[in-house]
């Protein structure tokens, strides 16, 4: 059986997707990227192959994407995460209609991509290096509040007050804002909602730069955070389309591209 792999080596996690010729997902894996991107990517690809009961020979083409894409020497091709994200989102979000706008929050960056009717990237915007409003920001905030990052959603819905404004555009300054809010005896849940709304405002500003069209799709790890999703939807005044497994869309896009590239050979 011919199968294809897409590997998204991000700043916080490595995502691997293996698909077959019918574009069905045979298996996927998410692992921390740690400090040795290349080693972990290789190890996890081998593990995943074992899990789905496939051999290396079955893997016809591999496309890598994400920050560490160039370090993964086994890849037949590399592609930027923006293109891969667009392809993956278009496929994973079929059920929602034609996706024209993608919002993606990653470990280190936030992106907004706008697509044309055929799904090609027309325009995109990315945060300029600083980590405000990214997954990293949620990590930092959760650590300061002494809760797990996966608990943020829960806390969001506990809040009964108005969200506390977090105004800093820098992750480090925002952390000190959180500290001073804690110092003023504000509740953790109210601070959490404040964080979510501040991220929502930032990402919407970025998305407006590329234009908001039709179905707005949201993916990346932070899309699992229901509180953040609610904040973005509230600020946007519209519903978001979120796939079942929002972390792996970019890797899926890379896998689809691997299949297409293999067929073009």
């Amino acid at each position: 059986m011919n199968c294809f792999a897409g590997i998204d080596i991000g700043s916080t996690a490595i995502k691997i997707v293996i698909i077959n010729e019918e574009l069905e997902i045979l298996g996927s894996k998410i692992a921390g990227s740690g400090s040795m991107f290349y080693k972990y990517a290789k190890e996890n690809l081998e593990l995943l192959l074992k899990e789905v009961d496939l051999k290396k020979e079955n893997l016809k083409y591999i496309v890598s994407t994400g920050y560490g894409r160039k370090l993964f020497k086994e890849a037949d091709e590399t592609i930027s995460e923006i293109t891969a994200n667009a392809i993956g989102a278009r496929y994973a979000g079929k059920e929602f209609g034609t996706i024209r706008t993608i919002i993606n929050l990653g470990g280190q960056d936030s992106k907004a991509i706008s697509l044309d009717e055929e799904g090609n990237v027309v325009n995109f915007a990315m945060n300029d290096r600083c980590a405000a409003g990214t997954g990293k920001f949620l990590d930092v905030a959760a650590a300061k509040l002494e809760i797990g990052v996966e608990e943020l959603g829960e806390y969001h819905f506990k809040s009964r007050g108005t969200p506390l404004p977090i105004n800093s555009t820098c992750a480090v300054f925002a952390e000190s804002e959180i500290i001073s809010l804690l110092g003023n005896e504000h509740k953790v849940e109210d601070i959490v909602t404040g964080i979510h709304y501040s991220i929502a405002k930032r990402i919407i500003r970025l998305a407006k730069k590329v234009g908001l069209n039709d179905v707005i799709y949201f993916d990346g790890g932070p899309a699992l955070n229901k509180g953040l999703v609610e904040a973005i939807e509230f600020e946007l005044g519209r519903r978001l389309a979120i796939p079942k497994n929002p972390q792996i869309t970019t890797a899926l896009g890379a896998a689809i591209l691997a299949k297409e590239a293999y067929e073009e050979l």
Binding site: Y67, I79, S80, E81, I82, T83, N120, V121, V122, F124
Partner: protein, 434 residues
């Protein structure tokens, strides 16, 4: 015990470099790194380009001195008329700088939010051992952007002799034209006094021809970039134009002639230094100055090719020639003045229709498929103008990528992702058009 420690300390201090030597060493390290990448990261380099690689190595890595036999005049912007300086038997050296080392140094006494180029230029000038600053008899400063204008008094405090060239901010009016002409006439007189030389008709005529020759061969070479595939990489063109900042103009002209010959020869066989499907890019905005060529290099390493540029360190520098009707002293000086005002497409002007027009022309003539617009963080004029240029590009249906950057080498990962995604989207666009 105490004594021993003290002794050890003095020995260590004695071994330590003085800050000026360290500054020079850091600059050299930066230059070596970029030169290596320019030479080795691209497939078959042009043979004739070795003149330029060697030139940069001599000046920036080995610290060789510039033009020691002639009076040297530093220039702060492209509006300084080179023809007049050559007519005064002096050599112009452009001081705009691209070193991260110098940007860091300038950051010690400049506002954090100021532009990288201005910071780096002042950082460089603060150490008089640096080649470009070694022997400056005079520094000429056209009153262009606010940051440079305010930086002047700081340069003066460093002990350089400054000359202010009053530059108008509106170029469409007859008043500004007359004002600028008067500025240049006065400058011609003052320069003679400053340098103790005589500028006459013959010398001005000669220097107009000398600069004209350099422009002519540059235009010829630039013309070759219109070919499909374009036979020369943008990174080489930037190196060539950057060398015009400080090289002997006649040697420079000869070297460009050799590049032209080689490129023309290679172009006959449809030579393509880029990839098969490389999108044709127009570069504009804040000037890439050696060694800060990171953005042009990133574009071409991501499989794009820069076929045209509109920046004051490249095309804008050599774009228009002096056109003279009558070869009398005042006619020539006025014509020179006109060239530097009317042809200038600097964003400091109140209105900038001319820059839009020039960009449009370049897009059509060079069959450009995408525009990369760089603005140094802190360079307000380019940051502000970005919006109107983006609108213009949208109306033309040309995708534009706006990048805000500085001289920091740490920006690599994210920037290259953006550049790659942009190039990928241009490739898809092209496929669809077919």
């Amino acid at each position: 015990m105490q004594k021993e420690w003290g002794l050890k300390m003095t020995n260590r201090l004695r071994k330590m470099e003085d800050p000026k030597t360290r500054h020079r060493r850091h600059e050299a390290m930066e230059a070596v790194k970029i030169l290596d990448s320019l030479k080795n990261d691209f497939k078959d380099n042009l043979e004739s380009m070795s003149y330029f690689y060697d030139l940069y190595e001599k000046i920036y890595c080995k610290g060789e001195k510039l033009h020691f036999d002639k009076p040297t005049v530093g220039t702060m912007c492209i509006q300084v008329p080179y023809e007049i300086i050559y007519a005064a038997d002096a050599v112009p050296v452009r001081l705009c700088n691209g070193f991260y080392t110098d940007e860091q140094l300038g950051g010690e006494f400049m506002p954090t939010k100021s532009c990288s180029l201005v910071k780096a230029t002042l950082g460089m000038l603060s150490n008089k051992d640096i080649p470009a600053a070694q022997k400056l008899d005079l520094v000429i400063h056209p009153t262009t952007c606010d940051q440079k204008t305010k930086a002047i008094s700081m340069i003066e405090d460093m002990g350089y002799e400054m000359y202010h060239l009053e530059f108008p901010r509106v170029k469409e009016s007859e008043e500004s034209r007359e004002y600028w002409r008067r500025t240049i006439r006065k400058f011609t007189k003052d320069l003679q006094k400053e340098l103790g030389v005589k500028i006459n008709r013959k010398k001005v005529k000669e220097s107009i021809k000398k600069v004209g020759k350099a422009q002519k061969i540059y235009h010829d070479l630039n013309e070759l970039r219109k070919l499909k595939p374009s036979p020369i990489l943008g990174k080489d063109m930037f190196l060539i134009t950057n060398a015009f900042f400080f090289d002997d103009i006649e040697k420079w002209t000869e070297a460009v002639k050799r590049v032209y010959k080689e490129v023309k020869e290679k172009a006959k066989a449809k030579y393509n230094p880029a990839g098969k499907r490389s999108p044709r890019i127009l570069y504009t905005g804040s000037p890439p100055i050696f060694p800060n060529l990171k953005l042009p290099m990133m574009i071409e390493l991501a499989d794009g090719i820069i076929v045209a540029d509109e920046s004051c360190s490249a095309n804008r520098l050599l774009n228009d020639m002096v056109s003279v009707d009558e070869w009398f002293m005042y006619d020539m000086v006025d014509s020179i003045a006109d060239r530097y005002l009317k042809g200038c497409t600097c964003p400091i002007f109140t209105q900038n229709e001319d820059r839009k027009r020039r960009l449009k022309e370049l897009i059509i003539d060079y069959e450009v498929e995408g525009v990369v617009y760089q603005s140094f963080a802190g360079c307000q004029v380019y940051e502000m103008e970005q919006r109107s240029i983006a609108k213009e590009m949208e109306s033309l249906g040309i995708p534009m990528l706006y990048v805000e950057s500085d001289y920091s080498p740490a920006q690599g990962g994210q920037l290259s992702t953006r550049i790659e995604a942009f190039i990928e989207s241009l490739k898809v666009r092209r496929r669809k058009k077919r």
